[in-house]
Symmetry: C2
Subunit: 140 residues, 2 copies
């Protein structure tokens, strides 16, 4: 006998791989993976961030950020600039990076919509809110 909580997490986990694979196939054209895309989107939405800020926002460790940024710098989508002191570095999108992000966003849109086909806007919003609440509960 599963509780509704357990059922929810069951379903949550089950969806992960198929979803990530779907996204990664779409991102292949841009030589990106979903983790790198997540960082690009963060920079687009909220502007330049330090490595530590990125780690905090994405709930990953600093060395993982280093690797993500290295790859995106290689691709020319982001660049690092001096921060408030000599230790700090700010990561920001390049001009090309900004273009690419918009292009990818447009490219991914139909895939997202199809994945959520038949689900009402209201339910999507509720589900999003539920996920946000869990995030807040877990990372307290």
């Amino acid at each position: 006998m599963l509780t509704i909580e357990q059922e929810f997490f069951n379903q949550y986990r089950l969806m992960y791989r198929p979803f990530i694979n779907l996204i990664n196939v779409q991102l292949g054209k841009y030589q990106l993976y979903s983790s790198q895309w997540a960082l690009l989107r963060l920079l687009m939405d909220k502007g330049p961030h330090t490595f530590v800020d990125i780690a905090n926002f994405m709930f990953i460790e600093k060395p993982s950020v280093t690797r993500l940024v290295q790859k995106l710098v290689e691709l020319g989508y982001v660049e690092t600039v001096a921060g408030r002191d000599k230790r700090e570095k700010l990561v920001q999108l390049t001009a090309n990076g900004e273009e690419i992000v918009q292009e990818i966003q447009a490219h991914l849109k139909p895939t997202m919509e199809q994945a959520l086909a038949g689900v009402s806007e209201r339910d999507i919003e509720i589900a999003t809110q539920v996920l946000a609440n869990i995030c807040a509960n877990i990372n307290r």
Copy 2:
């Protein structure tokens, strides 16, 4: 400008690592990881399965199933028995495995509840349904 679909998937992805880490900490006592736990739960809920069935249910490939099962056999939580012909093997819980699954389920319950604290039962059910719909849309 993010659409509500993109916002949803954003939030979905953001939650994954913290959630899996939380579960894995709880499962550490039983020398299990969340992927192995997912398989144990499948066997508990729906009885014995062949390797191919497991692969289909969990949306993973056969070699991944082999590895999962090997580990769980080592731990004595599952066993394989002859199937309908000489090729097929059925994976099923051992007596000890069944006990452990129930113990873990009870152990995880408060963690799950706390993660969903402040979320109404109705919203949890809606979110679960949304995830199930996406799964169906993606794996069509």
